[in-house]
Symmetry: C2
Subunit: 157 residues, 2 copies
């Protein structure tokens, strides 16, 4: 019995020393995940940041752009472009905060909420496909551990 069961040797397989690297594995997994998510959004002409911003607005109520960036770990200069796109598509409105006139308050519109619903269905489907090879218990374990790792490195803002 091997400690870490390494898959059958196939001709094209990546070198063992690479395949065992957590950083490499995470990267490959993220690549697959991002590709699948992108495919799911392509029809709507949106990308993953558009989706997460919509979710943040729906869940946490209207927020300033800087707030959104902080919550989602997206640079504030990138948020500008994302909100531009969403505003053009009518999914979001931007209005000046009168109590702190540096801020733009971004809020979800009705069409935005509607679009979000559809996107969430697609996302859910993708997550399912992503973790397909794992059992229900394995998925829970996996996510729990993943969250621990992400959370651990998230303490530095």
């Amino acid at each position: 019995v091997t400690v870490v069961p390494v898959p059958v040797d196939r001709e094209w397989r990546a070198p063992q020393r690479v395949v065992r690297l957590p950083s490499w594995l995470l990267n490959q997994a993220a690549l697959h995940a991002n590709r699948m998510v992108a495919e799911g959004f392509a029809a709507a002409g949106l990308r993953r940041h558009h989706f997460t911003v919509l979710v943040a607005l729906d869940e946490d109520r209207p927020a300033s752009q800087a707030e959104l960036g902080r919550r989602l770990s997206i640079d504030r200069s990138d948020i500008v472009a994302v909100v531009n796109d969403l505003e053009e598509a009518g999914l979001v409105v931007r209005e000046r905060d009168e109590r702190d006139r540096r801020r733009n308050i971004v809020r979800l519109t009705a069409p935005g909420a509607k679009a979000l619903d559809q996107l969430e269905a697609r996302v859910a489907y993708v997550q399912e496909a992503l973790l397909e090879p794992l059992s229900a218990k394995e998925r829970r374990d996996f996510l729990r551990l993943l969250m621990r790792v992400v959370e651990h490195h998230g303490e530095r803002a």
Copy 2:
């Protein structure tokens, strides 16, 4: 008892519906991992692809560029640039395969092997830091599950 124990609510935390997404978590984890790896290599003026190519050459013996690309899931056109860099740095030599003159055989040089040794030490350190919050058993479980996911989506070449 919550099914998936979600971390303490901090003001800046990402929305729950985002934080539970496997695709988002994988992405964040990969970002942290890549940042750390990049820092580890910055002093040597190399990036992660340079490292994986060196490992592949060291482990699987000299190979053509197309071979390398296939094994490491790197596009042929990107391999060209990576091998260019490595050749300029003297870590690798490129020579025409006389039995199939379409191919370039890439082989590790002595300085290349030496450089690889140092890089591997740095990489090992980074992996350790990356998984720091997990116990030894948790790391094994985590990697095992991660490998299953990556392997599953890797069947399509």
